[in-house]
């Protein structure tokens, strides 16, 4: 009974994945990060269960006390319009996380494509792509994002697009460097000698070696995207109809929560962002430690 080559490859991958997972479990910071992230995502997904969406609307909050402290009202008190801060926090998590992830996906997809194509094919298209990447890297992120957001108008999808478009260069650069180093490895030459096509080389050799790097890059890009969304929302460029942590900070600031020291309004969003970002940083560091030796050896 012969086993197909594909099955062997999948078995190998599953074993490699299991080994990586067990390595990961040994990293305490990594596990802490993962747990925190899972908790926050769970909270965001469970938003309808934790707070009614109606609590977000000012019209329904007319009868609520204004600027109520957490001991007077609800888990986290109310804001200047009487809306529940807890509801804003829980529902705001959704937007912050959604934008973070979606924008990262866009940035990674564009960045990886540019990086892989530029690194693999080389020549003039590569030089042009790299010039383009350099230019985009130089343009300061926030002014560009502001200008784009001002033109496109405030909505969640526009924000996702804006952050995605401004974040891909960093990924492209890193991926391209890795593709270049993979290209130089001997087994690519040998494969070509055996008559392998570019497509085959791409699938069997380049992508498997580049994927871990893409994953590591993802864990770095998401927190940056979330911080970007926070800043954009704070500046008033976010979707005015949806709650987000950045928007909470904007409203807190505009309504004078600082002079009133209404800490229940401006502390939770900031702490929430810190928690998510730190979680990703810890996860990213743990992943780097696991994947690094493999990246160096390559899989021949």
């Amino acid at each position: 009974m012969t086993v197909s080559g594909r099955r062997v490859a999948w078995r190998r991958r599953r074993r490699a994945f299991a080994a990586a997972w067990s390595d990961y479990r040994h990293s305490t910071p990594g596990m802490i990060g993962l747990v925190v992230l899972v908790l926050i995502v769970a909270m965001a997904l469970a938003a309808p269960l934790l707070a009614s969406e109606a609590d977000l609307r000012a019209i329904y909050a007319v009868d609520n006390p204004r600027w109520a402290t957490p001991s007077e009202y609800g888990p986290l008190g109310t804001d200047n319009l009487g809306r529940s801060v807890w509801a804003q926090f829980v529902w705001g998590a959704r937007i912050s996380l959604l934008v973070g992830f979606a924008a990262t996906v866009i940035a990674i997809v564009i960045g990886s494509l540019v990086g892989i194509v530029s690194g693999f094919f080389g020549g003039i298209p590569s030089a042009l792509l790299m010039r383009l990447t350099e230019w985009f890297l130089v343009i300061p992120f926030l002014p560009l994002a502001i200008v784009l957001a001002a033109i496109l108008g405030p909505s969640v999808w526009n924000i996702i697009l804006v952050i995605g478009i401004t974040s891909w260069p960093a990924t492209a650069r890193v991926i391209r460097a890795q593709v270049l180093s993979v290209k130089e490895r001997l087994y690519i030459e040998r494969s070509r000698a055996l008559g392998a096509s570019s497509g085959h080389l791409m699938n069997r050799h380049v992508l498997p070696n580049v994927s871990p790097l893409i994953l590591a890059n993802l864990t770095l890009t998401v927190p940056v995207a979330i911080l970007s969304e926070t800043t954009l929302s704070f500046l008033g460029l976010g979707d005015p109809t949806r709650a987000s942590w950045g928007k909470m900070l904007d409203e807190a600031f505009s309504a004078g929560a600082l002079t009133r020291n209404a800490w229940w309004y401006y502390l939770p969003p900031g702490l929430g962002i810190m928690a998510v970002v730190l979680a990703f940083v810890l996860i990213g560091q743990a992943l780097e430690e696991i994947l690094d030796p493999r990246l160096k050896e390559g899989r021949s």
Binding site: I139, L142, P143, I151, P223, T230, F234, L258, G270, L278
Partner: protein, 322 residues
């Protein structure tokens, strides 16, 4: 450093600037169909008014003519008129530029110096409590939004403790001059500068620490010790000059982010600089002003990157011959 090397770098910077100018044009004139409708979204204009505005903005020619007019205007530093204030954009920007330059300049200087010092201490005493505290501190400051840190500082230091003013650049109604005036401004600048410094020094500390840890393993350090140098000399004369190279690169990369950070931080502290101006411009949206600000910010970053590139080449002789 040869003249050829420097000129190549300068040309590269100019090319990038040219790209930004062209990109800017595309953003506004080509993205949407009717630029006038775009520029004056939300206002009701008659056909005549629209036509007049088109002429005023040079929008009545073909796209190519428009582009030519735009480039010419830009090179003459005519960036249009602010929609909100009706003042020339270049004047608005010029009036506010120094406040931002002072704020960002001092913050970058302080965050670099302190970040590097912390990084050196953490690496040289690896594994010690110094190392752990500094690493935790830098991770925490990296994770928080810079303007949120500003909010916290504002609440504690200005509102609750009353140690610092809540905003602005000088006390209202104060007619202090000379040194008193300068002191007043410095007093107002303290919190925003502290915010930007703390928000970004973490990255310098991390990079310096890891660069120094890598350098500490190099053979030439053992050689330096074998020659009879004291540890401090080994560190300062051999380890640090090599480890500081990635930090220089980081300063260049970070500058764009610090400028971006200044936008929100200036807003929090009502600091009358370009950042605050950007925030105000968003209320229109005052697109000519935003466009001009975008150009100025980009030009500043390009220039700063050029300086950092040349500085790096000065510090690392291996790059010069390339």
């Amino acid at each position: 450093m040869s003249l050829r090397f420097v000129s190549l770098k300068v040309l590269g910077a100019l090319a990038t600037l040219a790209f930004v100018i062209v990109f800017n044009f595309f953003l506004f004139r080509v993205v949407e169909g009717d630029p006038v409708a775009n520029l004056f979204r939300g206002r009701n204009l008659t056909q005549e008014q629209r036509q007049e505005l088109r002429q005023q903005f040079g929008l009545d020619g073909s796209k190519l003519e428009q582009f030519g007019a735009y480039v010419q205007q830009t090179l003459q530093l005519n960036l249009g008129r602010s929609y909100i204030s009706n003042e020339p954009v270049s004047k608005e920007i010029w009036d506010r530029a120094w406040a931002t330059i002072a704020l960002v300049g001092i913050s970058t200087l302080l965050s670099t110096v302190f970040g590097v010092l912390i990084g050196i201490a953490a690496a040289w005493k690896r594994g010690s409590p110094t190392d752990y505290t500094s690493t935790s501190f830098t991770m925490a400051t990296y994770a928080m939004p810079d303007f949120w840190l500003g909010m916290l500082l504002l609440v504690t230091m200005a509102v609750s403790l009353g140690l610092f003013p809540v905003g602005g650049i000088t006390d209202a109604g104060s007619n202090a001059t000379g040194f008193g005036h300068l002191l007043d401004q410095a007093h107002h600048m303290f919190l925003p500068a502290l915010t930007l410094t703390v928000a970004y020094l973490g990255e310098y500390a991390i990079v310096m620490r890891s660069a120094l840890l890598d350098t500490m393993r190099e053979d030439y350090l053992t050689l330096a010790r074998a020659k009879g140098l004291r540890e401090v000399m080994v560190r300062n004369r051999h380890a640090v000059p090599n480890a500081i190279l990635p930090v220089v690169t980081l300063i260049a990369i970070n500058f764009g982010f610090v400028l971006s950070g200044a936008i929100a931080v200036e807003t929090i502290f009502s600091w009358p600089g370009l950042g605050r101006l950007t925030y105000d411009a968003l209320n229109g949206p005052d697109l000519p002003l935003l466009q001009g600000l975008f150009l100025v910010f980009s030009a500043a970053v390009i220039f700063f990157n050029l300086v950092a590139d040349l500085l790096y080449a000065y510090l690392d002789p291996r790059v010069r011959t390339a």
